[in-house]
């Protein structure tokens, strides 16, 4: 039984709450480390059976995932660390991974290694071997390596590294059983690895390390990795310095019950390290890395046999040339995206209708009757059924089908490896606006859902560019806004031309709005780079992984679970109270009119200046939680104020009409013009993100300031655009 370890603030894995998470205590703690995109998450899923989303995209597991598995009565807790190339703590990911390995003290560390990129992966393995002895290497993607003509000999590799090496094809579950067996034997102490450690640095480095190591051992005699800690101190690793100052290091050596460190001794160690640093070459860090890679190269040379000219590598290259070629790259990309969007819109139509038939046309009246039958007072019935239930039902029926189509399609492209190529092709445009090429991906994701797009910005590893991607994501016209665009375009723009052209014109208008959004995204990225987020585009290294045959069924399942349902759940949580508010403002009366009528009355002058009207503005205020309910709210309010209850479903009850023509008639009766329609399309593109997205932005940035910017910036742009369009329009119309 493992005892609870002391002080590890960034990784409280052994705390009591973790034990509860696992449904009880665990016997062994296993860490899962590795480079990005090595199939680490797949190994994790294969071991635990948990469905964590995996993608052919470097940098997926940004937060830590945890799971358990039981083998012959022994309980294992598995922690999936973020994928990193190194453990120098240069980024948040590396810090999380390193801290866990050092202070979390796992019983076994499984390093997942991509057999196709052995050298680069060995760099990380060698760094991990410096920290901990109990390492098992899982040599994953053996099939892919074979296809690409790279034959790795696990026995030789194991001999070189001094730790067990298990070959595996995690996607197909091959080698997982053996992996568990080896992990078990290492955890029980039946198998004791004797890891290889890089011992040959330059004399001046070795002198400094030896001196510092002596001091460390004198202060903490039980320290098992004093040499590594000495090296990190010479490389000025802040976290290690902190660990020394705060006594965490003492706990490491003695297994949790060390006497507190003498602060004077700690200070002396740090001062000695500071002095020794001046004796080293300025490119000390470069030399350390060169040393590690020298060894990685040597070991890979022993364990790897390359068979040149394999078919898969050739196929990969040909496909790459095609997809990134000057003439075909962009048309192919646009083609793929068009197909994705078309499938989403066309495919979602019928299921959306079916859901609406059931949830709104059938279940809503039924619920209402049921509530009346049990004697619920009318106002409560209205609030709960007409307000809360209806808003939620609306969001689900409009949002679920397109997301359930869009996300799996997107995930399939991701799994296949196409998305990094999109970023690769588009990077030049993003570079010029001071943004990151991967923003292309988060932008596309935003077309599905802005909240999901904001989460996806995690793959961008430089903070400035990530913030730009987060703030500008709202300019991607999301699924929830398409219906508004299509409806407005059909009613107001389609009607301007002969019937046989109406479809083309309205579709073109919607595409135009989406492209306008992309233009705003670029312009805003550029403007932010010039002002608030000043700076030029920083480092950019994009790994283009080999293409992998996508796994259709698994993708469907996982993307449904972890993108669609999570986003939907959040939207519902926000939509339910909005429903209550909408019902209340339509029914609560002040004086001789409802709250809604007063609000519209006050907002009308503002709306007029903006080329909109009070109804639209009020609808956007109360429908902040979800863009999906804007149109139903607009219709309900229009009817409420026009005093034509025979059309609608009653005060506070959102509704939609079967045909665009009927909606058009209603709106025109409410005083809508072509200008109102056009400006509503513009405002629907350019306004604050929905509250789900705002909440997500806050969670991702942890900053009220940037959340406020992300909210105010598009809103300000939208108000200004609508205002300008309205004035110019009126001027032109005389």
């Amino acid at each position: 039984m493992t005892t609870a370890g002391p002080a590890c603030r960034t990784c409280e894995r052994r705390g009591p709450e973790l034990v509860q998470l696992g449904g009880g205590a665990f016997d062994h703690l296993v860490a899962l480390a590795g480079n990005p995109n090595t199939g680490k998450s797949t190994v994790f899923n294969a071991l635990t059976g948990l469905r964590q989303h995996t993608g052919n995209w470097p940098g997926k597991t940004v937060t830590r995932a945890e799971g358990t598995f039981v083998r012959e009565g022994t309980r294992y807790r598995l922690v999936d660390l973020p994928g990193t190339y190194s453990l120098q703590a240069a980024s948040a990911d590396e810090e999380v991974a390193r801290d866990f390995l050092l202070f979390g003290r796992p019983d076994v560390t499984v390093v997942v290694v991509d057999a196709t990129h052995l050298e680069r992966n060995l760099n990380l393995v060698l760094q991990i071997l410096e920290i901990t002895d109990r390492v098992v290497v899982c040599l994953n993607l053996m099939d892919e390596a074979r296809r690409h003509g790279a034959l790795v000999d696990p026995a030789r590799l194991s001999k070189q590294l001094g730790v067990p090496v298990v070959p595996a094809v995690a996607r197909r579950g091959e080698g997982i059983r053996q992996l568990v067996e080896v992990v078990e034997r290492v955890a029980r102490g039946e198998l004791t690895p004797t890891p290889f450690r890089v011992r040959r640095h330059e004399p001046e480095v070795e002198r400094a390390v030896a001196a510092l190591e002596r001091t460390l051992r004198a202060v903490w005699p039980d320290l098992s990795n004093a040499r590594w800690i000495a090296l990190r101190l010479l490389d000025a690793d802040e976290r290690i310095e902190q660990a020394i100052r705060e006594g965490e290091l003492a706990a490491l050596g003695a297994g949790g019950d060390a006497p507190p460190t003498d602060p004077v001794a700690a200070k002396q160690v740090l001062e000695q390290a500071g002095r020794l640093r001046w004796t080293l070459m300025p490119d000390f860090h470069d030399r350390l890395m060169a040393g590690l890679y020298r060894e990685a190269e040597r070991i890979a040379g022993v364990a790897l046999r390359v068979r040149p000219g394999s078919g898969a590598a050739e196929f990969n290259r040909t496909l790459d040339r095609l997809l990134t070629s000057r003439w075909l790259g962009f048309p192919l990309m646009l083609g793929v995206l068009t197909v994705v969007f078309w499938l989403t819109i066309a495919g979602a139509n019928v299921p959306s209708q079916r859901l609406a038939d059931f949830l709104i046309d059938f279940a809503h009246p039924a619920l209402k009757q049921a509530a009346a039958a049990i004697g619920m007072p009318g106002w409560l019935n209205g609030l709960l059924v007409d307000g809360v239930y209806l808003a939620t039902a609306w969001v689900v029926s409009v949002m679920l089908p397109p997301m359930a189509i869009f996300f799996p399609l997107f995930t399939l492209l991701e799994d296949f490896g196409y998305l990094p190529r999109v970023a690769f092709n588009l990077d030049a445009l993003f570079r010029r606006t001071g943004a990151h090429g991967k923003q292309a991906l988060t932008m596309c994701m935003g077309f599905g859902c802005n909240a999901a797009g904001v989460v996806a910005t995690r793959v961008i590893d430089s903070p400035r560019e990530r913030l730009i991607a987060i703030i500008t994501n709202n300019f991607s016209l999301c699924n929830g806004r398409w219906p508004t665009q299509i409806l407005m375009a059909t009613i107001f723009l389609g009607a301007l031309v002969p019937a046989h052209l109406a479809g083309v014109v309205s579709a073109g208008a919607v595409v135009g709005i989406a492209l306008l959004g992309v233009a705003f995204m670029f312009a805003t990225s550029w403007a932010l780079s010039q002002t608030m987020l000043k700076g030029e585009a920083s480092a950019f290294a994009l790994e283009l992984p080999p293409y992998r045959p996508p796994r259709v069924l698994q993708t469907l399942y996982t993307s449904l679970i972890d993108r669609t349902l999570i986003v939907l759940w959040r939207a519902v949580v926000f939509a339910a109270p909005a429903g209550a508010v909408i019902w209340l403002i339509a029914n609560a009366r002040v004086g001789d009119a409802s709250l809604a009528a007063w609000a519209v009355h006050w907002l009308d002058p503002v709306g007029l200046v903006l080329g909109l009207n009070g109804v639209v503005l009020l609808a956007y205020v109360v429908a902040i939680p979800a863009n999906e309910i804007v149109i139903p709210t607009v219709l309900m309010l229009t009817v409420l104020l026009a005093g034509t209850p025979e059309v609608g479903a009653g005060a506070g009850v959102m509704f939609e009409l079967d045909t665009a023509g009927a909606v058009g008639g209603l709106l025109q009766a409410g005083g809508w013009t072509l200008l109102t329609g056009v400006n509503l399309m513009l405002f629907s593109l350019l306004h604050n993100p929905c509250s789900t997205t705002l909440y997500t932005i806050y969670r991702e940035t942890r900053s009220a300031k940037w959340t406020a910017v992300a909210g105010a910036l598009p809103l300000g742009l939208g108000l200004a655009t609508c205002f300008l369009v309205a004035q110019v329009w009126r001027l032109a119309a005389g």
Binding site: S91, T116, S325, K534, G535, S538, Q727
Partner: protein, 341 residues
């Protein structure tokens, strides 16, 4: 209100906002600039000037102080008087000198300034010409604990991006080393240890030629009016008076060799090369990223995939296909691999 009036009102509002808030030229940024030049800032700048004089063993006078601070001579005398009252400066036999307290105070300001420049160079993408001014502002506003946190986070850097040593928290400053560029004969080579960052016009010229600390320089030709140099493979010419602002560590003849001047960005698709080193221009997080990818000296790289707009380019590095932007590929010096194209 008619649409025409509304539009005019909007344009006026826009102009007003722009005049107030425009970066650097607007009213608000200018007000901040004036406010920044408060008494304390002037005093701190004076201390810094005196301290740097001590370190570089250049005597300081009232004239030099007035010149650096951009104030009249009488105002400079005034400031010195205030510093004397505060016990930070005394007028001794050798002219104006710092007291121990004054020295400590000044070194803290210098430490903050240089650390902040290092931070701007490594962690942000601000252009080199803007580092100094930004640091001039920050050095007066960062608290001591903020400075220490920053230093720790950046791994206690030893030098600022111009090659000036950063004083330690204990107030130690290592001695300067090296010789001015003008001391080198044609054919001699050296590593840049320091590039003087004032006055800004001179610094900009030096940056344009490619002088940064750790850059390798070879003097090609010298005359009374010009020095022709090769800096990290790139040729340039500077006036001797400008060249004197660069300090070098001369290199033994044998140490230089390898620079054919090619970088990864020069590789045509399909060409291979061996990495010689990462240019000294690339520091901090960006350098670490490149090293982590395995771009250490001796690594075989191959330009493999051109993107639709020719930038970035995909390189085969240790088996993986990695896309790098042109600007990054340009900092990686390579030697074309013989026959391995």
């Amino acid at each position: 209100m008619g649409p025409g009036t509304a539009l005019i009102a909007f344009v006026i509002a826009l102009v007003v906002v722009a005049t107030v808030a425009w970066p650097r030229r607007g009213v608000w940024p200018r007000l901040r600039q004036v406010w920044r030049l408060s008494e304390r800032v002037r005093l701190e700048d004076a201390l810094k000037h005196l301290s740097l004089g001590e370190h570089e063993q250049v005597p300081r006078s009232i004239e030099s102080l007035a010149g650096v601070l951009g104030v009249s001579r009488s105002r400079a005398v005034d400031l010195l008087g205030r510093l004397e009252q505060m016990g930070l400066v005394r007028s001794g036999a050798a002219g104006i000198e710092l007291t121990d307290d004054g020295r400590r105070y000044a070194l803290r300001i210098i430490r903050t300034h240089r650390l902040w420049e290092r931070y701007l160079a490594d962690e942000t993408s601000l252009a080199p010409a803007e580092w100094h001014d930004a640091a001039e502002v920050r050095e007066h506003s960062l608290s001591e604990s903020e400075v220490e946190r920053l230093a720790a986070r950046m791994g206690h850097p030893l030098y600022d991006p111009h090659g000036d040593p950063i004083p330690t928290a204990a107030g130690e400053l290592p001695p300067l080393r090296g010789v001015p560029l003008t001391a080198l004969e044609p054919g001699q080579r050296g590593t840049v240890v320091h590039v003087e960052d004032e006055p800004p016009a001179v610094f900009a010229q030096l940056v344009a030629v490619g002088f940064t600390p750790l850059a390798r320089v070879e003097v090609l030709e010298r005359s009374d009016s010009a020095v022709r140099v090769r800096v990290d493979g790139q040729e340039g010419t500077v006036a001797p008076v400008v060249a004197a602002q660069v300090t070098l560590d001369p290199l033994p003849e044998a140490a230089m060799d390898e620079d054919a001047g090619a970088t990864m960005a020069d590789l045509a698709p399909g060409e291979s090369a061996i990495v010689v080193r990462i240019s000294s221009h690339c520091q901090g997080r960006q350098r670490r990223r490149l090293l982590d990818l395995g771009l250490v000296p001796g690594t075989l790289v191959r330009a493999e995939l051109d993107s639709a707009l020719h930038d970035p380019v995909g390189y085969r590095i240790r088996g993986a296909l990695i896309a790098l932007r042109r600007r990054q590929a340009e900092v990686i010096h390579v030697r074309r691999a013989d026959g391995a194209t």
